[in-house]
Homo-oligomer: 316 residues x 3
């Protein structure tokens, strides 16, 4: 069985980005490939872009789609093997995954972290139990620690707008009012490293990301310095990894403004959305010509579609 | 970009009714027109007829359909431009509409009024922000002030059962136990005026509708007089426009009965549904041969389908 | 109008099982039969296997599918004829069923019992009101008292794994922590009797099932004796029929274990799922080679598909 849950699942990430951009030129070329195949999309959490773009990608390939908000529409799931199920969970993941595998040819799963228990989240209990018990390929629609479809779309976007083989990409922490997952940041690091970009991550003290994903990255704490000469600035909030799920106090102003942007190489600005406007990023940047948020959203379709196409073709 | 949110969006309403009735004779004629096109249906509120009839209409045209209960399945949306989003809203309509426009070829939106703030409701904040930020055609699936797909189906129904070019149509207020929107009534007025029907609206004092929509209508307060000679009686409750969203006391009995109906021209009875039986209308009328509620429900498919067909054909 | 709500609706149950198994060999054979037909799936309750397997079955036949969680996404329904609807219900089943019949060609309905009022549940108010007012065929996706699609899949499973024309089938009550419906058990009895199996039901005192369904069954109270020589053991909890919806105290241990199974004829073990592991059945049995739960889940697709196929062909 093959899967798409991390850049690690991809043999040649640069080729995948290239293939996705090729597919974008002719999205209906493989319109018969998914005929009579069913994509199941299982959500434990809210979704707009991921759900719609993945449905659209499946339609482009001729697939049928079943969407299930699993704990609202089906049953509360048990993830612990050997559990004596005399509590609130009604069905074991082993049985649910078996059934879903029977009815679907590919399965997408969205399962955010609880942000309470670091070990549980970083062991990816939900995703890994699905993978363990599913007999069909599993796609992550954002798991506790990674969001690979977003990152693939982000890499497509960078490749589409620059001719530089080693663009300078800066991932900067941004303010937020609530604790957010680290998944987008972790995943973005992975893919930039895999593609050999000149990659820097900058965040306030206390917001260092897991070494599992940040190893090999250029890590900084001074946003103004980090932004110097950047071709791409990826803006994202995340909560603390060390003080897990908390939001340690931040002294400096981390919200991008005109003066901060001035030191970049006329950088393109990226965000995965949803974005809290004027909290994470000001309107004037999001609405500027340098903003790539629309292109990122558009590329989500082709990121999902190249992954589905490869899984349908047993080509991973 | 074109849209369908009001009779005002339609060049020739009479022709649209005629085209919808023609299409009803052969619903699968344009079964290839929507191939590889996706209809997004975004609901802020409950729906039975509207959702199912619009999905059916899309299927008849070969379209794919994505249904999203946006605030339950995606994110709480912010509608105010320039907002500093440090509250409960997670995504700005500008970004959501951009994304949905990327993944869908036509967008339907249902957004009921709050019935608390007249200005907000009658400015159609939600609908208009979708229209402002969407880059694909928008269809109203009932907005704060209008329900054009219902009215189009109602006009089809009237045309289907009468040969009179100027039938006498009476819209009468009916009792209810809760404050209801004015959208169906407003919309019904618009379309009757546009089609040149002999149109009367009758309601208790305090329940006068917005002049924006009632201007040019024959407005009465005496139900018995209004019903005299009516060919069609459209029954609907709405809450007060002046004492916005409230239900001022009503002295007389406004529930239709045998004696009230006797003065009509053997009138056909219409209601958009859902109807609170024996509160808004008695069973014996709803179940009578003169009741058109089934035909109205049936025509919802072809109302939606002609609108989708015209938008797909850039023919509005 | 035809329906599938009980074995009673089926002329020749053995032939239906045979046809379903034939169809399983070539599921896409009738891929055009449902073209431009729409299946509506109406849920009052949670569903995983039933929803996904029925959607898959419809896709195999080329049908479109509309899923509606009716009371969450549409309106609270009134089921009492003649009701004065001045309470919490917003739409009468008569009008909802009419509308759904207009938009769908076949309708599936899931409506569990409340387990509070025996008469209400066993009169199948919801299901029967749908049948009364729908003008298209109705399929039960599990009603208050029966689950015929599950039973049909169970009968396929038994037929698939045994060559004996009269296999010994034992339905045994199992422990649970909450009161469960009697539907699966009632339905399983019906179908075993109809197919002429050597059928025994065993349960603790106080858990006797309705005579409406158990008449003609071999009823026992001693689990160890009942299991002797069994070819198939179907494990299921249900709440009391006599002390309706309650869970009278049970003295003995009813959870299957190695010693209990030893007396069977190397029995295959069945459960409809979801199963509370290690409460209703231990992991080691559910995961054993004798467990048929995966095959039962798989056969749900073809059970649904043969029913849809027959209804589409007017062949019931």
């Amino acid at each position: 069985m093959k899967k798409f849950t991390s850049v690690i699942d991809v043999n040649d990430p640069a080729q995948l980005v290239y293939d996705a951009l090729s597919l974008k030129l002719n999205p209906l070329k493989n319109n018969e490939l998914g005929k009579n195949k069913t994509l199941g999309l299982i959500f434990f959490n809210a979704s707009l872009r991921t759900r719609l773009s993945t449905q659209k990608a499946a339609f482009n390939l001729g697939m049928n789609v079943i969407v299930l908000n699993v704990e609202k529409e089906a049953w509360a799931l048990e993830f612990k093997d050997g559990a004596i199920m005399n509590g609130s969970t009604v069905e074991h993941i082993q049985d649910a995954a078996m059934a879903i595998s029977t009815y679907c040819d590919i399965l997408g799963i969205r399962c955010f972290p609880g942000l309470k228990n670091k070990a549980e989240d970083y062991e990816e209990i939900i995703l890994n139990q699905f993978i363990k018990y599913c007999t069909v390929p599993v796609i992550s629609l954002e798991s506790a620690t990674l969001h690979p479809l977003q990152s693939l779309a982000d890499m497509m976007t960078i490749r589409e707008v620059t001719k530089r083989s080693k663009p300078k990409v800066v991932l900067t922490w941004a303010p937020h009012i609530k604790p957010c997952p680290q998944a987008v940041a972790n995943s973005f690091m992975q893919w930039n490293l895999a593609l050999g970009h000149d990659f820097t991550i900058v965040q306030p003290p206390g917001y260092e990301l897991s070494e599992e994903f940040s190893q090999g990255c250029h890590v900084m704490y001074d946003q103004d310095k980090a932004l110097q000469g950047a071709d791409f600035v990826y803006v994202k909030n995340w909560s603390s990894f060390q003080q897990y799920g908390l939001m340690p106090d931040v002294k400096d102003n981390w919200l991008l403004d005109k003066s901060k942007i001035k030191v970049t190489n006329d950088a393109k600005i990226m965000h995965c959305l949803p974005v809290r406007r004027n909290v994470e990023l000001p309107d004037f940047i999001l609405n500027s010509e340098n903003s790539l948020i629309s292109l990122q959203a558009e590329n989500r379709v082709y990121a999902a579609q190249i992954v589905l196409k490869n899984l349908l073709s047993n080509n991973f």
